[in-house]
């Protein structure tokens, strides 16, 4: 820990940290005003959706592929399959070993990544302009010709088991894993993206090859290219590197909605810790739901990361119970979840839970103030351009806008949609999508001392 900050940074995840020493600058930016985001979109003959956006102020290019498959497509007894396939993409192709891929990208100072999530998988290359051809070559190789060697398969699986063991030392991870099992009971969002020890052991190499064969084909790909490249060059490179990829059949999709949490459900997990990690919540909404923007404003006021949110004010500032507290609506292709998470010292566990429920209740019971509404809108609209102020962030956002079918006018319309939300909308969606009676509660910590009231 080289430094420590005043506000918790949201989304602090245990990703593999490769600290180089020289480059201690982790944040990237370079905002673009919403209206300026007008990428060129086309579909190639073999079915790839391509989005190209020229940005010439820095010699950087981001090549980003979104594959329309994720852990929600895992067979129930083989959770972790989509993630294992993604993890194997850069572990060797028919013409490059895993080490060669790592060396070729490292030696130009670029980066290559592949990562699965619930709804989709991403694979991307970030390079300097002069290395653009290499970036395309490696990404295309990974996506079209992964080797899936038996040896690499076994090795990566062992690594993933190691990752799980590390996750099991992280109380936040343990709590979320248990929470998802309660909220997504019987649904494909139930399991962690990387699976469980049990399901990972059941996956065979044939499963990996089968999943890849079914799910990875040109029509499943949204390819986003952003940076110091011309439209002609990007189009030509796409044709050269992805043009010969054979068309596949459309994938079959299961779009089952999760069942609601029927009653208050409590799960307590014993761990020898000084703090209790608390997660409380229930089912949420779909990304494409018309109420998404009203929910965004409501959740912002309740506790979505703002310094002046009600939860922050009550739990941290007034009661001093936690360093950080945040509420989330994770809106996905199918309805996701709503949850509040925090860590507090063991002795104040009950007090914190009562505090959270009381804020959920109060945002349902009375309209928010004019000032709260105005401030929420001002933040959401004002900070909107900073959400895609680097090539990497913008590529991610653009690909998701396309994936969820939000339309490219999203960038100019977002401020309007937020601005349209009224106090009545906020209270209506609070009543409709928050429930202080029927929820799942998970506490990880020293249970004997915490004496949690069920």
């Amino acid at each position: 820990m080289s430094s420590t900050r005043r506000w918790p940074v949201p989304g602090r995840q245990a990703i593999l940290a490769l600290v180089m020493g020289l480059c201690v600058f982790l944040l990237r930016s370079g905002p673009t005003v919403a209206a300026e985001i007008a990428p060129t979109k086309f579909v190639t003959a073999n079915g790839i959706t391509v989005l190209i956006l020229e940005q010439h102020f820095l010699p950087i290019v981001e090549i980003h592929a979104l594959i329309k498959t994720g852990s929600s497509q895992d067979p129930p007894d083989k959770a972790g399959l989509a993630n294992l396939v993604a993890s194997l993409l850069d572990e060797g192709t028919t013409s490059r070993t895993s080490k060669q891929l790592a060396e070729q990208i490292d030696f130009v100072g670029g980066s290559l990544e592949a990562k699965a999530s619930e709804d989709f998988t991403t694979a991307s290359a970030r390079v300097l302009k002069k290395d653009i051809d290499l970036g395309f070559t490696l990404l295309a190789d990974m996506l079209q010709r992964p080797a899936f060697h038996k040896q690499e398969f076994e090795r990566v699986r062992t690594q993933l088991l190691g990752e799980m063991a590390s996750d099991n030392d992280d109380p936040g991870h343990i709590a979320m894993k248990a929470f998802n099992q309660l909220v997504f009971h019987g649904h494909s969002y139930r399991w962690p993206v990387n699976g469980t020890e049990e399901t990972l052991h059941k996956i065979t190499l044939a499963d990996v090859q089968g999943f890849y064969g079914r799910e990875y084909s040109p029509s499943q790909i949204i390819l986003t290219i952003i940076g110091d490249v011309t439209l002609e060059q990007a189009t030509a490179l796409t044709q050269t590197h992805f043009g010969s990829w054979k068309k596949g059949a459309a994938a079959v999709r299961n779009m089952k909605h999760p069942l609601p949490v029927e009653r208050k459900t409590v799960q307590l997990i014993e761990k020898d810790l000084t703090q209790s990690t608390i997660v409380l919540g229930h089912a949420g909404i779909q990304r494409t739901h018309p109420d998404f923007y009203s929910v965004t404003v409501m959740n912002y006021i309740l506790g979505a990361g703002g310094f002046s949110s009600r939860l922050m004010d009550s739990i941290r500032d007034k009661q001093g119970l936690a360093y950080g507290i945040t509420s989330h609506f994770d809106a996905r292709l199918m309805p996701g979840s709503f949850w509040v998470n925090l860590q507090t010292k063991t002795e104040t566990t009950n007090q914190a839970i009562v505090g959270v429920l009381s804020e959920i209740k109060s945002i349902r019971d009375a309209p928010v103030s004019d000032q709260e509404l105005a401030e929420a809108k001002s933040f959401l609209i004002g900070s909107f351009p900073l959400r895609f102020d680097s090539t990497a962030k913008l590529a991610n956002v653009l690909a998701q806008v396309e994936f969820y079918g939000l339309g490219l006018e999203y960038f100019s319309d977002y401020p309007k949609w937020i601005d349209r939300v009224t106090k009545e909308d906020v209270q209506r969606v609070a009543k409709q999508y928050l429930d202080p009676k029927r929820y799942a509660l998970v506490v990880v910590g020293n249970l004997a001392k915490a004496k949690i009231k069920r």
Partner: protein, 407 residues
């Protein structure tokens, strides 16, 4: 106060940072945690704004405002769209110059910070690094946790914080760094207006620093966890040292990337650890090389042996010519790719000023990386990559026989 700026006209954002050249190492042991506590208190009310006003205004700016404390610096920064620059400067200067340190707010903030201390205690990766610093640096102020100790935090009084600010928040030791889109002609008078009347400290805090002695040895702490978390440490060099690029290159080869020897040997080839990397810490007068790994309890000795083998290999033989060239290309590439944002430029400007007293251009840095030669690398490798002063810290389900050979 020194002001350093860099215009990035293609951006729409601007980041302003106020860097105070004082951090946890400048505290007496009875003051452990003061720098960080003050960093929190600057958001808790000024003569014209309440704590709630500050939170609301930060949110209303639609940007990002935060602060962080390290061992040698305390930084307050704000990143906003360019048209909000004046409001951001005004708010930042109000916090910086007119905070009230109200006793009620101090008492409440103690609880928040104590929760932060507990969070570190429950996070094995953070905790092992903290234990490791304490083990390598013993009683030296650099070895203390930045957050301080429960006892010193509980005992903090308003007067203690005010005295600390008076001695340590010295305008001569403060750098304002601004990068992004702005108009220089408008910026200068704005900065003068909001920061021109700073308080003057009585002493120069950085003068009290003295370099630490690093200690080797093995420290094992048993804890009920699934994995054993390990830190291995060697002596390094100061932030501005002339050999720093040679050491960066060696670190890149050792464990600074996915093609590095440690990553390839331990993770990729043998699957012994999911997480393994090495990094350099550079302070104004000293530095450290640290390797971190998380592994299964039964593999601890093997992982430590392999890390030692790679350290010794670099100490004895240096690195191959091809590897050095590749490391240099990689360092240059990542350096260029890392300077995309106004935030990273702002940090670089401030660090250059604090470390070198001048701006070091990107071209200069690239040039210095280019000039790293085989002889220099061999020499630096011999000097630092040796096991006689190696420090090892382990946290997790360790058996009494773990690491017996290393002890």
């Amino acid at each position: 106060m020194r002001v350093v700026t860099e215009r990035m006209p293609t951006l729409k954002s601007v980041t302003v940072g106020v860097w105070v050249n004082a951090g946890s190492r400048d505290e007496q042991s009875s003051q452990a945690g003061y720098s960080h506590f003050i960093e929190h208190m600057l958001f808790k009310g000024t003569s014209k704004r309440s704590s709630a006003d500050i939170s609301r205004e930060i949110d209303a700016l639609g940007g990002e405002m935060n602060a962080f404390t390290s061992r040698e610096t305390t930084t307050y920064y704000v990143k906003v769209l360019d048209q909000q620059l004046q409001r951001a400067l005004e708010l930042l200067s109000d916090l910086f110059l007119h905070s009230r340190f109200a006793p009620r707010e101090i008492e409440k903030e103690k609880q928040v910070i104590l929760e932060e201390v507990r969070m570190v205690r429950d996070d094995p990766e953070d905790l092992v690094q903290e234990l490791h610093s304490g083990q390598v640096l013993r009683r030296h102020p650099l070895g203390r946790p930045i957050l301080g100790q429960e006892k010193t935090i509980r005992e903090i009084r308003r007067i203690d914080l005010l005295r600390y600010v008076e001695t340590h928040y010295d305008p001569r030791q403060t750098v304002i760094s601004i990068a992004g889109n702005f108009d220089q002609a408008h910026l200068d008078p704005m900065v003068a207006r909001y920061f021109g009347k700073g308080r003057w400290a009585k002493t120069n805090p950085a003068n009290g620093r003295h370099p630490p002695d690093l200690h080797g040895g093995v420290l094992l702490k048993k804890k009920r966890l699934e994995q054993v978390h390990l830190c291995l440490g060697l002596n390094g060099i100061a932030a501005g040292h002339e050999d720093r690029y040679a050491l960066y290159a060696l670190n890149t080869v050792l464990g600074g990337s996915v093609s590095s020897r440690l990553f390839q040997e331990i993770r990729e080839k043998r699957g012994l650890a999911y997480s393994i990397y090495s990094f350099l810490s550079g302070y104004s007068d000293s530095g450290m090389i640290t390797v971190y790994a998380a592994t299964r309890p039964k593999e601890v000795d093997r992982v430590v042996d392999l890390v030692c083998r790679e350290i010794r290999r670099i100490g004895d033989k240096g690195v191959e010519r091809k590897e050095l060239e590749q490391a240099k290309t990689q360092m240059k590439g990542s350096l260029m790719l890392s300077l995309e944002s106004s935030h990273s430029r702002m940090s670089k400007l401030a660090k250059d000023e604090l470390t070198h007293g001048r701006h070091v251009s990107l071209e200069d840095m690239l040039d210095q990386i280019d000039r790293v030669g085989e002889e220099q690398v061999l020499h630096v490798g011999r000097q630092f990559f040796k096991l006689d002063s190696l420090a090892i810290t382990g946290l997790g389900p360790l058996s009494s026989r773990s690491l017996q050979a290393s002890r």
